[in-house]
């Protein structure tokens, strides 16, 4: 089984397709394969477990060396020089891990080890390198931005030509002064405080908005500034912890604690050597814009009356409308009406006042976002059920919504997690949605790319990546060898306001094979949305006395652990 493509994006006439931890480029004019960027492996993973996935023989020697230099993420570049530079990395990496050690005075050292293993297990669960979980492309098609999940990194690539082939060239945070042997680059991703879950790029292609699983939205300059500036401080940057400057002092004192045991704990704490304060903030320029106390699932930038807005959706049924930079701290309103998590929001270019949202609800919601007004709802679950031949579908999770325009018709393309079909809806003039087509696919839909030029030059083509590993309609059962897909992509073309099958094909190179050990990791990578659903906890049974986090998703639990 080949590794499937979990996210695809169009970049000019190129297709950027993330496959596990690699990103491949295809030419969309002739479907030819161009190049691959491989996410460097992390040493930690290798130590934690033997590679679980068949490694590619093409792995450059440089790469394999680099992976043993240190834990951080760097792409191919001569190892000699890098060691020096990785000092900064080290610090960075520690800093993401160590804040939790702060103020932990009396903890035994084993705790730290345990935590570390935790993380390594997470990384090692499926892939040898962090998997790409989101892609974005600047509107000028000059840059590609990718999030790699396990290392929480935002990576920016420029498209460069080398040997007549286009390559993804990862931009560094800092430019290295170059010598004769070294290209002017340093591969260094920006490691965010928490794992990002969605991306947006400002209209002028200068700023990245990164929404994370901890509920915060950060802005980062697309091109990191040359000098390693200190973290910028704007309105919402969390103030530096005062403890950093002054000698360690427990937050509690004799007057705030009242029990014998707490008093003892405080005495112990006072005797303890204070932990060396660690700098917990990443060193690159990033600005905290806003935050939910929930897991963010999507972020979009919108415009109304010449003003900018940031729209964020979360697991707790909220769609929040905040002002744009520099007033992101002001909440303009909410779109409240969903009863399950929201996973995707979409603003049609041609109707910027409208927002279509979907998630764990049975319906798609159409909002006038500025007023928080619900315009219409369209049933999706029954259509999904129909597509599965009437098989009972108890829950759906929308995995993609995008808008395309064909002549005078506005179409919305919708996919649902673990469902081998593409659903199209007409967005009517009165902003209602009408189901148009259900297009059966040869496997579960994973990602959708639109606006691809057809042979006549009009951007009419739509490309869908298909899960080549799981059985169609299942997120758990793997395909038999007899059911191998001919291609992990399916193409459609817009005709008269509808989608029709298209013969366009990409010449996919054999990718990495998915080994058995990677199956669980792969499933988590491809089908994570349903985990957002709230489960009925056992709290009632426990009489609510403990307030334990029974219903917390694994992911969320892991985030909080960090």
């Amino acid at each position: 089984m080949w590794m499937p493509y979990q996210c695809i994006e169009r970049c000019g006439n190129l297709l950027v397709a993330a496959r596990g931890s690699n990103i491949e480029l295809f030419n969309l004019s002739d479907g030819s394969f161009i190049s691959t960027w491989k996410c460097p492996t992390t040493q930690g993973t290798l130590k934690a477990k033997p590679p679980v996935k068949g490694t590619t023989p093409k792995l450059e020697s440089q790469d394999s060396k680099s992976s043993s230099v240190d834990i951080t993420i760097e792409a191919s570049s001569p190892p000699t020089k890098r060691r020096k530079l990785s000092g900064g990395d080290d610090q960075d990496k520690n800093s993401t891990k160590d804040p939790k050690e702060d103020q932990k005075g009396g903890q035994k050292p084993t705790k730290k080890e345990k935590k570390l293993n935790y993380r390594l297990d997470a990384v090692a669960s499926g892939l040898e390198a962090p998997a790409v979980i989101a892609l974005a492309v600047t509107s000028d098609a000059q840059h590609v931005i990718a999030i790699t999940g396990e290392d929480k990194s935002v990576r920016v690539f420029s498209l460069t030509s080398q040997d007549g082939l286009t390559h993804l060239n990862e931009l560094s945070q800092r430019q290295v002064p170059f010598n004769s042997f070294q290209m002017r680059r340093l591969m260094k991703s920006r490691v965010m405080p928490k794992r990002p879950s969605a991306l947006a790029i400002s209209e002028d292609n200068t700023t990245i908005f990164s929404a994370d699983k901890f509920g915060d939205v950060y802005s980062l300059p697309l091109i990191p500034s040359l000098s390693p500036s200190s973290p910028s401080s704007t309105a919402l940057t969390n103030p530096q912890n005062p403890e950093k400057e002054k000698p360690f002092k427990p937050s509690a004192n004799e007057l705030t604690i009242h029990s014998q045991r707490n008093r003892k704990a405080l005495e112990n704490q006072k005797r303890q050597k204070p932990p060396q304060p660690q700098k917990s903030e990443p060193v690159f320029e990033h600005t905290l814009l806003l935050g939910h106390v929930s897991l963010l699932t999507d972020v979009k930038l919108a415009k109304s009356g010449g003003k900018n807005y940031v729209i964020t959706s979360d697991r707790d049924e909220h769609i929040r409308i905040s002002r744009g930079i520099p007033q992101t701290h002001i909440i303009e309103g909410f779109c409240l009406g969903h009863t399950e998590f929201i996973s995707r929001i979409c603003i049609p270019e041609i109707r910027p006042e409208i927002l279509i949202a979907g998630g764990g609800d049975d319906e798609l919601f159409v909002w006038k976002w500025e007023k928080g007004q619900l315009v219409s709802k369209a049933d999706l679950k029954s259509i999904v059920q129909e597509s599965m031949g009437g098989e009972k579908v108890s829950k759906i999770a929308v995995s993609h919504i995008s808008w395309v325009r064909c002549e005078q018709t506005d179409l919305l393309l919708v996919t649902v997690e673990g469902i081998p079909a593409l659903f199209t809806f007409h967005l009517k003039d009165d902003n209602t949605l009408q189901h148009a087509q259900t297009l059966q696919l040869s496997g579960n839909a994973l990602s959708v790319a639109t606006g691809i030029a057809a042979s006549d030059g009009t951007p009419k083509r739509v490309l869908i990546s298909i899960d080549s590993t799981h059985k169609a309609g299942s997120t758990t059962e793997l395909r038999d060898s007899t059911e191998e897909l001919t291609s992990p992509f399916q193409a459609f073309i817009l005709q008269d306001g509808n989608l029709a099958q298209d013969s366009f094909a990409l010449s996919v190179v054999e990718g990495n094979h998915v080994s058995e050990g990677a199956v669980v990791g792969l499933r988590n990578l491809l089908y994570s949305l349903e985990n957002l659903r709230k489960r009925d906890g056992e709290e009632r049974g426990k009489d609510g006395e403990n307030g334990v986090d029974v219903a917390m998703g694994e992911d969320e639990a892991a985030q909080i652990e960090e």
Binding site: A235, V293, H329, I330
Partner: protein, 298 residues
């Protein structure tokens, strides 16, 4: 463990004994105690309205409900007795987003929120002082919220002739997540954050009730000119709260002079359960008030 089972049974017995009759007897705290910390990131099987317009406040403030044709007020009160608070909210959730027709409106809106109201000391002290202002306690611990509901119920029954405590109510909610589900933009004039969980560990700081990002939500529900009241016995937390509110462009610190002139401050210091406890232990109390500013033009 025999202990807890026994305790549980006693609680059940106690609560079922209270049920039904319009008891004037105040509830006993010992039957409602619950561990002081709750994880604000977990789901907790919470019940909350889809949006403020879906919220049926009438069971909470029956005396302020608009006269309706569906039935006399008494009927609703009975409904509230059998854990009706939750049922009502469930009903609100089941309603479709467009149909909010059969919710009984109040003659006025809730204007004061005591976030993390605990055992309700502030509410009970403040309610007679501001008899025409509706105030709501929000508490994440189910047992404790239930206690406050019972307490208010009993106080209402005790003072039936004067009609006191009709303006106070409590519900179980995670206000860090769902504040905008209960309150419309600029609905509140006062928010109280009294003796919140200090969450000493650095990695727990996101769970603190005050953070720059969360302050945006307080700014959303509080009207310009409204005030957020904070009090704590932990100096570190006090500094943290001051720092984060000061940093937030939507708030400014209220001057010491105005602060001491505010009658709510004294109530907050002396009448909250936690405040009294701190007094008993000769602890310190740190107070800070923050005024919501007008939003700049956009």
């Amino acid at each position: 463990m025999a202990g807890p089972a026994n305790k549980k049974q006693k609680r059940v017995d106690y609560k079922s004994a209270r049920e039904g009759g319009d008891t004037k007897e105040l509830p006993k705290k010992k039957f409602y105690r619950q561990r002081a910390h709750a994880n604000v990131f977990s789901d907790h099987n919470l019940v909350y309205p889809i949006s403020p317009t879906h919220m049926d406040w009438s069971p909470y403030f029956p005396a302020f409900a608009e006269p309706s044709t569906t039935g006399p007020i008494g009927e609703i009160e009975v409904e509230q007795q059998d854990s009706g608070a939750d049922l009502q909210a469930v009903a609100a959730i089941e309603e479709s987003a467009t149909n909010t027709g059969n919710i009984r409106r109040l003659t006025k809106n809730v204007e004061v929120a005591d976030i993390g109201c605990g055992f309700g000391g502030l509410l009970v002290a403040l309610a007679p002082k501001l008899p025409n202002t509706l105030m709501l306690g929000m508490e994440i611990r189910m047992q404790v919220a239930e206690y406050v509901q019972e307490r208010i119920q009993a106080l209402r029954a005790q003072t039936a002739d004067d009609g006191l405590y009709q303006n106070a109510a409590c519900l179980r909610a995670n206000s860090m997540k769902f504040l905008p589900n209960f309150f419309k933009k600029a609905q509140l004039s006062k928010i109280f954050l009294c003796f919140p969980d200090p969450h000493f560990k650095a990695r727990k700081h996101k769970a603190r009730i005050v953070s720059t990002t969360l302050n945006s939500e307080y700014a959303y529900v509080v009207r310009p000119g409204g005030v957020v009241y904070t009090i704590t016995d932990v100096e570190d937390l006090h500094l943290w709260m001051v720092e984060h509110f000061d940093k937030h462009p939507s708030f400014e610190r209220v001057s010491e002079e105005d602060q001491e002139a505010d009658q709510c401050v004294e109530v907050m210091r002396m009448e909250t359960e936690e405040g009294m406890k701190v007094t008993r232990n000769n602890g310190q109390k740190f107070v800070a008030l923050f005024r919501r500013l007008e939003d700049p033009p956009w």
